[in-house]
């Protein structure tokens, strides 16, 4: 794995580059532009940048209006506020009318670590995933972020883009072929399939290394598109390994784990375990929080062994 790059920096850069190429892109922000890095776009294209202040509901409603004008709005704020305060127009306007709005929920998972549980998003995927017409993308490194921004801008329809504040090791290279709805198998092993989304993917990869030291061979799959999910790859991996572990910085209710379980329970019932949130976290150092709340490589490896036992 390469150097650490913060996802929000990669996003801000990608949005700026997109703005240079496509003058239909407009950006809305709710007074956290310096945090989400949407400000990079705003500085270059002030006429296409709308900072609405601390009013997420109105920001999202406005973006719906922009989308009806054949523009491509990207709305930005923290994931937790986007999918609570902003969820009404996300559902009633954007999802309902399939409007071409890109909803960027930043600081997802526990990544806004020191601000505490009030600013951490562990329910956002569940909220948007349950809405018809919504595509849900969750990125794991800087390269994937840049590719995802390009891909969702080209896609005509509503997309929720889940972003982290945290620095994450670069996993992919420039040749990475990112396609919406297509999962990526990063490691192949016969004993267990670890299916992860978001920046926590790198801990899933480290867990696979730990397992290898014990002679356990893990498949590791990156599911960057949680909806529509890559059913084929998930079923195939479950058949090959007979044990599945999902890993996400999100509630185990309604997120990636639920999505994978929905696929497998129907098509290929398989023992499954979930790494994710079951309670609100707290303030603190990000990596310490990940360890404490069960997202560390060792915890992931332990859960993998547990599900293997249940085969």
């Amino acid at each position: 794995m390469g150097n650490n790059i913060a996802i929000r920096d990669a996003y801000g850069e990608a949005l700026l580059n997109l703005g240079k190429k496509n003058d239909k892109v407009v950006v809305l922000e709710a007074d956290v532009g310096a945090s989400t890095k949407s400000i990079l776009f705003g500085k270059e294209f002030p006429e296409r940048y709308f900072n609405v202040g601390i009013s997420e509901f109105n920001m999202v409603a406005m973006s719906a209006g922009f989308a009806t004008q054949d523009l491509i709005p990207f709305v930005n704020t923290f994931a937790v506020f986007m999918t609570t305060r902003g969820s009404d127009p996300i559902q009633s306007l954007i999802a309902y009318d399939k409007l071409n709005v890109k909803i960027a929920g930043n600081y997802a998972g526990l990544s806004d670590s020191y601000d505490g549980a009030s600013h951490q998003a562990i329910t956002d995927i569940a909220v948007v995933r349950s809405m018809p017409n919504m595509t849900v993308v969750s990125v794991s490194d800087a390269v994937e972020t840049a590719k995802a921004v390009e891909a969702i801008a080209e896609y005509d329809g509503p997309v929720y883009l889940r972003l982290s504040r945290a620095p994450a090791p670069v996993i992919f290279d420039e040749n990475y072929d990112f396609r919406i709805g297509k999962g990526v198998e990063l490691k192949t092993g016969k004993d267990v399939a670890i299916i992860a989304t978001g920046t926590i993917l790198h801990n899933a990869l480290k867990a696979a290394d730990l397992l290898k030291e014990e002679g356990i061979e893990a498949t590791v799959i990156n599911i960057h598109t949680i909806k529509p999910i890559d059913e084929e790859l998930i079923i195939d991996a479950a058949k090959r390994t007979g044990a599945v572990l999902t890993v996400e910085e999100h509630s185990i209710h309604g997120g990636l784990g639920s999505a994978v379980a929905e696929v497998l329970s129907k098509a290929c019932p398989t023992p499954i375990e979930f790494v994710g949130a079951t309670k609100f976290a707290e303030s603190g150092d990000y990596n310490e929080l990940l360890e404490k709340y069960g997202y560390g490589p060792k915890s992931i490896a332990e859960k993998a062994k547990l599900v293997i036992k249940n085969k």
Partner: protein, 275 residues
């Protein structure tokens, strides 16, 4: 507005009231009170003021109308059918399974509906997005948003009011259907809104007033609003909920309830229509 034109518009409004009662009686569902209070406002927009092309509903640069108080959908549909957006016979399918005419306006099923509405408080913000989008395209289109007076109790309205002022959206014209009655009672009883004009004025809006049942007064207020070059405008149109049918007027119980046969006959007699 000439005397003849005014009479013509008044006749259309009377016909719409008759058709509204026929329609809501026939389907035994829908919202008569708020549809009757906005009859002249919506009709003045569709038949007098808006630059629209029903044969080409997505024409670039057209004016936009958002029925933010989405429960008044029947009055919107009557206007749209009359303008030719869809066949008049579709009206009787309102609120029925398989119809493109949803209980609340739906942009992806009914051509010409600019925005899906129903959950209150979103039309002003979305209208602002449309207005700023038009400005980016250097279009001179006007975005009209019809608000209910109960609706403006939603916080999102005031978020949008702040933003429209900041972004100087002078191509955004809100019209308030100020009938003073919401579902559970009068505004005074449920949530008094105080001096609404002063509130919008303090948010940086150009505030105008008119008689919401006088087509000429409404048209003049719209002209005045369009002359404002620096601010968004709101026209506070004084109306009567259930206007035109004495037993419905000012009654919150007629926000949305089925019309029985006796009531139907009475209503039609008052409107001078044929049962």
């Amino acid at each position: 507005m000439t005397k003849e034109r005014k009479e013509e518009l008044q006749k259309i409004c009377l016909r719409f009231r008759n058709e509204l009662i026929d329609l809501l009686y026939s389907i035994q569902t829908g919202h008569p009170g708020g549809s009757l209070s906005c009859t002249e406002i919506v009709t003045t927009l569709f038949f007098e003021k808006m630059n629209i092309d029903p044969k080409n509903p997505n024409k670039e640069g057209r004016d936009r109308f958002i029925m933010s108080k989405g429960h008044a959908a029947p009055m919107l549909y009557l206007n749209m059918a009359e303008k030719g957006y869809f066949p008049r016979e579709d009206l009787k399918t309102l609120r029925q399974v398989g119809s493109h005419l949803q209980g609340h306006p739906c942009a992806h099923t009914t051509p010409g509906v600019e925005l899906s509405t129903g959950p209150l408080g979103m039309g002003l913000g979305a209208g602002l997005g449309m207005a700023l989008g038009e400005k980016l395209k250097n279009s001179d289109a006007t975005i009209y948003v019809l608000l209910g007076d109960g609706e403006i109790q939603e916080g999102g309205i005031w978020e949008a009011a702040m933003a429209a002022s900041k972004f100087k959206a002078n191509n955004l014209i809100a019209i308030l259907d100020y009938n003073g009655v919401q579902l559970d009672g009068t505004l005074e009883e449920i949530m008094p809104m105080g001096d609404i004009g002063k509130k919008f004025e303090s948010f940086g809006w150009n505030v105008l007033y008119c008689d919401g049942h006088d087509v000429e007064d409404i048209a003049n207020a719209i002209d005045e609003a369009k002359n404002c070059s620096t601010q968004p405008s709101i026209i506070i149109a004084k109306t009567v909920k259930g206007k035109g049918i004495s037993f419905m007027e000012g009654k919150n119980s007629w926000h949305g309830k089925p019309i029985d046969l006796e009531e139907y006959k009475l209503a039609k007699a008052e409107l001078g229509g044929v049962v």
